[in-house]
């Protein structure tokens, strides 16, 4: 009897579980029905809401400068789409540039803080202060100290998006399994190897949770900063177009800009969630289907 021979038959339950993910089971087919339902319910709800809105405006004859009908908003979007999409592009540029800088600086600072408790003690309080101070309150100052509005917008959006990345990643780097740390020590791993092969993969789910928060916050902060700046920089963003539409009592355009903004936020959340799922689907409990 050899070690290999006895083990092929080892625990059948686990073997089934391992195969289950790859082979389509009867459960999968009922899953398609459930998935259709998951799409259909919100879609029907949306149609009902929009229809009710349209009916209310039509029946009560609400003037469009108070509450425009969905059809009117759609018309406004079609008429002004060049201007609105251009403005969206400007806001997205701010959002994604700020998000990218926030990811790099947040992760870098988290790694730095993981290296030494002293560095963490020195830096973390300031990160917290920047986070808890409302961005609209800091924005006027930032506008004074920067030479262009675009820079000010970037700094505002960065300040807001930076903290969730930093604090989540730092938490992830800290919560490494102690036995795995012992194992790395036993095999003589240096600091860099421990960071690269153990702490960073361990922090990935935490970082991705931070990314999902930061993505949405970066957009919100970019919009808030545009509000605070009041005047467009090199080019007008979506928030500026929104205020402008309000001043001109062009409420349908205001709504169109608002809808565009919401859809953008939803899209950012969707994309960051998808990235998170793709990176974790093989191993992390949050992305793995429960086997019951």
């Amino acid at each position: 009897m050899t070690a290999v021979g006895t083990d092929k038959l080892d625990p059948p339950a686990a073997t089934e579980a391992a195969v289950d993910d790859r082979i389509e089971s009867p459960r999968e087919r009922t899953g398609i029905g459930a998935r259709l339902g998951q799409l259909a319910v919100p879609a029907v709800m949306l149609i009902l809401l929009v229809a009710a809105w349209q009916a209310y405006v039509d029946i009560r004859n609400v003037p469009h400068y108070i509450l425009p009908s969905p059809v009117r908003i759609a018309q406004s979007f079609v008429e002004d789409h060049a201007m609105l999409l251009r403005a969206l592009f400007v806001t997205l540029q701010t959002t994604f540039t700020a998000l990218a800088i926030a990811l790099v600086t947040g992760v870098a600072l988290a790694i730095l803080m993981a290296q030494s408790r002293w560095i963490a003690l020195a830096l973390f309080p300031y990160a917290v202060i920047l986070q808890v101070t409302p961005i609209v309150a800091i924005a006027p100052l930032i506008l004074i100290y920067t030479s262009t509005t675009q820079q000010a917008l970037l700094i505002c959006a960065w300040l807001v998006a930076f903290f969730p990345v930093l604090s989540n990643t730092a938490q992830g780097l800290r919560s490494t399994d102690h036995n795995l740390l012992n194992l790395f020590e036993l095999y003589g791993a240096n600091r860099w190897q421990t960071l690269l092969y153990l702490k960073m993969p361990n922090a990935l789910p935490y970082f991705l949770a931070g990314l999902r928060i930061a993505g949405g916050l970066a957009l919100i902060a970019a919009v808030v900063a545009e509000f605070a700046a009041g005047t467009p920089g090199a080019d007008a963003g979506l928030a500026f177009r929104l205020i402008e539409a309000q001043h001109r009592l062009n409420i349908p355009r205001l709504f169109a800009a608002l809808v565009l903004l919401s859809l953008t936020g939803v899209a950012i959340f969707g994309v960051t969630s998808l990235i998170s799922y793709m990176l974790l689907r093989n191993w992390h409990e949050s992305a793995v289907r429960r086997e019951n």
């Binding site: 009897m1 050899t2 070690a3 290999v4 006895t6 083990d7 092929k8 080892d10 625990p11 339950a13 686990a14 579980a17 391992a18 993910d21 399994d177 036995n179 795995l180 012992n182 194992l183 790395f184 020590e185 036993l186 095999y187 003589g188 791993a189 190897q193 092969y197 153990l198 993969p201 361990n202 990935l204 093989n282 191993w283 992390h284 409990e285 793995v288």
Partner: protein, 278 residues
């Protein structure tokens, strides 16, 4: 024969005669006090010979895991020394002896495949994946998991995870294998199977094994020698030889010599637990 230098033995029957060049590792009056003031070990002295399979047996809190960690270099003793009489020392004063460590938990990286988990010790020694491939696959075959190289730990049963953990400890071809209650969390069927496989591999490769357990039956089945420890503070209570030949297989579990040794060790453990420190 388990010992690589078996030719020095006068006969093949136990007790196994040890080579004359001294023990592989020697613990001299080790004491360990934790930062909360607990005295985990007091004056623990122990010689482990090359190729020996020795179990540390004792109630929980007797410091057997602490002793194992100190041998592994994870944590310094508060007083006492560890000597490696026959090993070369590296620049940091650690023995050049390859040590494999198996924890009570499988302690696998959940984000890495079975292959990558076993590859880890070699990766830390800066081997490329391509250079280590044959080695990793060979070791997985040894523990019967060669078809699971691309599986993730969450897809495996408890016994299979433990096999991965053992494969990872074996990948560096250790001279000394330290095992900290490795099978305690497994069901009996899997534990017996892994006991047998471990003995096969030990007889084949002739490592020195220090095996920590709280099971009398497991320690008697596996070991040439059992060190019974007493708790609070942890210390050696009795050093016992299990005079039964290898290879041992399942029929050994029902033999008279096995039962007799279990009774002997069990009695010693009772005495150790009844004894109060002076």
């Amino acid at each position: 024969m388990p010992t690589p230098i078996a030719s020095t033995a006068a006969s093949a029957t136990p007790p196994v005669i040890r080579p004359a060049d001294g023990p592989l590792v020697s613990l001299r009056a080790i004491s360990k006090t934790f930062s909360n003031g607990t005295l985990a070990l007091r004056d623990l002295s122990l010689d482990v010979a090359r190729g020996e399979f020795v179990s540390l047996l004792g109630p929980s809190g007797c410091g057997k895991s602490t002793a194992l960690r100190i041998v592994a270099g994870l944590g310094e003793p508060t007083s006492g020394t560890i000597e490696w009489p026959t090993a070369d020392m590296d620049a940091e004063g650690r023995p050049e002896t390859e040590i494999g460590f198996v924890f009570q938990e499988p302690t696998l990286m959940p984000w890495a495949t079975v292959f990558d988990n076993v590859f880890l010790p070699l990766r830390l020694k800066r081997y490329s994946k391509a250079a280590a491939r044959d080695e990793v696959e060979g070791t997985l075959r040894m523990v019967g998991l060669d078809t699971f190289a691309n599986a993730y730990p969450r897809e495996l049963s408890g016994g299979m995870k433990m096999r991965v953990s053992i494969a990872r400890a074996l990948i560096t071809k250790p001279k000394l294998l330290l095992m900290d209650e490795p099978f305690a969390a497994l069901d009996e069927i899997n534990r017996f199977k892994l006991n047998n496989d471990l003995l096969h591999l030990w007889e084949r490769f002739g490592w020195t094994v220090i095996f920590v357990t709280h099971s009398v039956f497991e320690s008697v089945y596996l070991s040439e020698r059992i060190v019974v420890m007493a708790a609070r503070p942890g210390r050696v209570f009795k050093d016992m030889t299990i005079a039964a030949p290898y290879p041992r297989a399942d029929d050994f579990r029902t033999s008279a010599v096995y039962n007799e040794n279990c009774r002997r060790v069990s009695n010693a453990l009772d005495e150790a637990m009844g004894e109060r420190p002076n």
